[in-house]
Point group: C2
Chain length 288, copies 2
């Protein structure tokens, strides 16, 4: 397995692959890889077969972090990431530096962004105003640099996956988006690099996100009539905040394709939530 750090070298390699008809699969990550990421890499490996190549990008993208968020303390372990990528079947890790991804940004020279104007307004987009603009921009950049035929994303960032699919369709990227299921810890906690932050009793309390999704699922499936979203939100908020370190940022029920909130929750509706556990902000989602 090879590590490429230069944007130009990566793009040249990708153009060579293109010219040879080699299929390319991309797994964009921010590193500090866990089983969730590795399931994406394995899926990309499978999709590309023996003759294709799998690139894992590892880049903590500063433009998707807001002021006061955890950009500076975001966990990093490149040596371990490289080892895990190789074992999961990657051919290349692409690990670019900020000064190559956003050259001249401090001097004000960098000035182009990809924005999604509807799906990115709710939930994560409401809590983290510039987040999705950073995501769509960096994903567009990675698509141009690596020129993948297929890119694999995880379901844990459900809204992100919906927005990326929208971006690909709207801007006609010649890329197929594949979305893989969330990988969970034994107690149901969705795998996340940020779980690292959960010390002591916080780790146990973090299980409440998954418990809330399970509770909602049971309520929807056990009930012959749709649930009222507003009152059920309140109930879940109370349930979650029984954990002493948990504070709900949002709970939302919506149509999965459009992210449009529903006022009545029935089977097939999607639920997403963001919860602070101590100072760590966790997200999760599930189909009800």
């Amino acid at each position: 397995m090879r590590t490429v750090t230069s944007v130009l070298a990566m793009q040249r390699q990708a153009s060579r692959w293109k010219g040879q008809g080699t299929r390319v699969g991309l797994v964009p990550t921010m590193g500090y890889l866990h089983e969730g990421h590795l399931s994406l890499v394995r899926r990309a490996r499978k999709l590309m077969g023996r003759h294709g190549v799998v690139v894992v990008s590892i880049y903590v993208n500063p433009t998707q972090f807001g002021p006061g968020e955890d950009l500076s303390r975001y966990p990093r372990d490149l040596a371990r990431d490289g080892r895990l990528c190789r074992e999961a079947g990657a051919d290349v890790t692409f690990v670019p530096h900020n000064d190559q991804m956003y050259p001249g940004k401090e001097a004000g020279a960098y000035s182009t962004y990809v924005i999604e104007e509807r799906l990115s307004k709710v939930m994560e987009g409401q809590s983290r105003p510039a987040h999705f603009r950073g995501v769509t921009t960096v994903v567009a950049k990675l698509f141009h640099i690596v020129q993948p035929d297929v890119a694999v994303f995880g379901t844990k960032d459900f809204q992100q996956a919906v927005i990326i699919k929208r971006m690909v369709r709207d801007l006609n990227f010649p890329v197929k988006i594949v979305v893989e299921p969330t990988v969970r810890e034994r107690d149901g906690l969705a795998m996340s690099s940020r779980n690292q932050y959960l010390e002591g009793g916080l780790r146990t309390q973090a299980g409440v996100l998954w418990q809330a999704i399970q509770k909602a699922r049971a309520a929807v499936r056990g009930n012959p009539r749709p649930l009222n979203a507003a009152s059920f939100k309140k109930e879940l908020k109370q349930f979650i905040e029984r954990q002493p370190a948990a504070r709900v940022d949002y709970i939302e029920f919506f149509e999965p394709a459009t992210l449009r909130p529903v006022s009545e929750i029935s089977r097939g509706a999607h639920m997403a939530l963001a919860v602070f556990v101590g100072t760590t902000r966790l997200i999760d989602n599930g189909r009800l």
Copy 2:
């Protein structure tokens, strides 16, 4: 020569070209072609050689027109455009329909845009607020559909060319941008599909844009000291508006790479202007 109207068919063809290592040149136009466009097509032909292909896109992009602008009356003549493209050496004209370029736009489903936030704020961007967002978005789409190695633009839309180059650099499009000189009528008027609108005496009066550039050039070159931009703007405005149907929208002097206005004009500065001649808005620019 072949005409492709389906976005999907064009993208599939482009992907086949990519996989075969065939080089692709793109000339994006809004049709109603004139010698200016054809010089771009010929340049693309030359750059691609015999083994490459040249695609001319013909699409009057609605998102780059503001309310009250000339979208609906923009001139169209596809039969003539096709003939001219063939003669100039194009292999394919790509003529997509709105419902394929912006599917679901009326229903609010289309929601992704490419924006440039600095260079697009001045001059044309100030006079036509959503214009460049429409331009960068449609050019990004065309780049993804046609997947060109090289795209050729004209100097008449100088600011557009600077913004496209910025977009390509910022978002890492694997495309080389080539910018060709403006082609002019005998009296210096820059070729433009909009010259079509100039009836009767208006056509003669339209020569004043080029005369103003020439006048500025002579003043800068004949003067040992830099000119004061503010007072020279006034002088040129008066000069232009001596034509009874001419009304200046803006005159700007700036550094060509950054579009930053200069307060003192010396050699190498760039001048751009927009002038209404009757109801027709014309633009031009030149190096001083």
